[in-house]
């Protein structure tokens, strides 16, 4: 597989207070593929994901060194507008986090912030993205209802629609199915697989079977180090590092 990188991470280290959580990570994340970050809990998967859209910097005591280039642009450059970086990436969190407003307003929130005012256009944006996230049929008659009334699985797809509505290039998923029932999980997985033709998808998961189902590219993290990365078939069929092998066979988890 030839890699056309969309995101290039170069020598990224992240420190929480004195503790080094990510150690010198260098990896290219391929364009329009699903890259899955796997590894035991506490290995820094989520930290790596959050560093991609700069959600780490408001936290206390976080220090970051190294570079992350998105489309060749250094996102930690002081001149880079943080809102611009985040707009490029839609985030799905572990538990879907709907905003305290109606279903419609949840999806329209992003576009409104970025300057869309025309009611008709907004209607279309909301409808299109709810369809894209596979939620439209379930909510089209109750767009004015509070988003909190949806089930957790529906809320996760709402969050997907909301993220897509700002027209990002990248979708980040932080264990996006961990709070969902099997059917909703499957639904979200299917959406992600469909979306990869237009978007670069980066998903963190601790479920190996899920990684096998959706991954084109795999990055294995262990204790804050990037142990191995490469095309999914290769890694799963023939891991080169003994630690990867141990993780894949369930010896470390």
């Amino acid at each position: 597989m030839k890699i056309r990188p969309h995101i290039s991470i170069k020598n990224l280290s992240v420190y929480f207070d004195q503790q080094r959580v990510l150690k010198d990570i260098t990896i290219d994340i391929p364009d329009r593929k699903i890259t899955v970050i796997i590894g035991p809990s506490g290995c820094g998967k989520t930290t790596l994901l959050k560093s991609l859209n700069r959600l780490l910097d408001p936290l206390d005591g976080v220090k970051i060194s190294g570079k992350i280039l998105v489309d060749g642009e250094d996102i930690y450059d002081p001149k880079t507008e943080v809102t611009h970086i985040r707009k490029k990436m839609g985030l799905l969190s572990q538990r879907p986090q709907a905003l305290p407003m109606s279903i419609y307003d949840n999806v329209a929130y992003g576009p409104r912030i970025h300057g869309h005012k025309d009611k008709k256009k907004l209607d279309k944006i909301v409808a299109d993205h709810l369809k894209l996230a596979g939620l439209w049929d379930e909510v089209k008659d109750r767009l004015g209802e509070p988003a909190s009334r949806l089930s957790v699985g529906q809320q996760q797809r709402l969050c997907l629609a909301r993220g897509l509505a700002v027209e990002p290039e990248i979708i980040l998923g932080d264990e996006p199915t961990s709070a969902l029932d099997p059917q909703s999980s499957q639904n979200v997985e299917r959406r992600l697989t469909e979306l990869k033709k237009d978007y670069t998808v980066v998903v963190v998961t601790h479920i190996l079977r899920q990684a096998k189902r959706i991954a084109d590219y795999i990055a294995f993290l262990y204790l804050g180090e990037l142990i191995e990365h490469g095309p999914a078939e290769e890694i799963f069929a023939n891991p080169s590092d003994p630690r990867t092998r141990a993780y894949l066979t369930g010896e470390i988890s």
Binding site: G90, L99, P100, M101, R162, G163, V166
Partner: protein, 292 residues
């Protein structure tokens, strides 16, 4: 005969449960009883003096000794004063609280000091605010007026409102902020469109508490708002207030005027009751979209 240990333990736990239940119920009865007694006394003693003219007319024969007319001057004065002060306090309170919660690191020193100073300010007696307001007033060459009263009461309400708001805004989960940030929203957009919405019931409650405190306070307006028999027409004229009306009427030697003090107190209580009910309706409505 001794019972087996588990049995004894279970009886012990049942007794414990029962005793504490009785204590809790007793506390509740005492608190609710006091409330009923206070309201009952006010109404019972004020009822003979309560009439329509009480709430539709201004005093005749002076607020101190007058036995005729009503307290419309104080009703209007109190409403203007407390509304103005609450609005003013809100204008400063909300930005401060949003700032310490969203623009600072969690548990930042600045935020902690601000919270500490709210707590201290909360504990300062209102007569001190009154005296402070009076000094500032003299310094600025103002006389006792509705405006000076509004400033002073706003000062009194500010820490109360801020601390109550802070408690709810602090509880906004990090993930909710992240959800908004990750869509490319700025902190300000997140604060105004997400945090304020999520915390609206708490914010309204804070406003209500502060309003209640402001409308019922006598000491802070004693020197600053003054008192008058006329209806308030200008920010720069003295304004009457209900707590002071009660204070003056109670201070007279005539029982029939003292009765009017209780009637005034009843009016104030009913006003607070109505405003609370209205606010509760609003708060209930505003919880619709809250994310739990």
């Amino acid at each position: 005969m001794t019972l087996p240990l588990t049995k004894r333990r279970s009886i012990h736990r049942k007794v414990e449960e029962g005793v504490f239940r009785v204590l809790m119920v007793a506390s509740m009865v005492i608190v609710v009883g006091c409330l009923v007694l206070i309201v009952g006394t006010i109404i019972w003693k004020g009822l003979p003096a309560l009439s329509l003219s009480m709430i539709t007319q201004t005093p005749k024969g002076g607020y101190y000794l007058g036995r005729e007319g009503g307290i419309l001057n104080a009703i209007m004065g109190s409403l203007y004063l407390a509304s103005g002060a609450t609005l003013l306090a809100l204008m400063f309170s909300l930005p401060v609280v949003l700032f310490i919660n969203l623009y600072n690191k969690k548990n930042s020193r600045l935020a902690e000091w601000t919270r500490f100073s709210f707590d201290v300010l909360w504990g300062i007696p209102s007569i001190v605010y009154g005296a402070f307001g009076f000094i500032v007033m003299i310094f600025l060459g103002l006389r006792a007026s509705l405006l000076a009263g509004i400033f002073t009461v706003a000062l009194l309400e500010f820490p109360i409102m801020s601390r109550a708001m802070d408690e709810v805004i602090r509880l906004v989960p990090r993930s909710l902020l992240d959800a908004s940030y990750s869509l490319g929203a700025t902190r300000l957009e997140t604060a105004l469109k997400v945090v304020v919405r999520q915390c609206l019931p708490g914010i309204l409650t804070a406003v209500l508490i502060a309003f209640g405190r402001g409308i019922g306070d006598a000491a802070s307006v004693l020197f600053t708002a003054g008192f008058t028999d006329r209806l308030p027409t200008s920010l720069f004229q003295p304004a009457a207030t209900l707590p002071l009306a009660i204070f003056f009427q109670l201070g007279t030697p005539f029982p029939e005027v003292q009765e009017r003090a209780y009637a005034s107190a009843a009016v104030l209580t009913v006003m607070i009751l109505l405003i609370s009910l209205l606010a509760r309706g609003l708060i209930k409505k505003s919880t619709k979209h809250i994310i739990k």
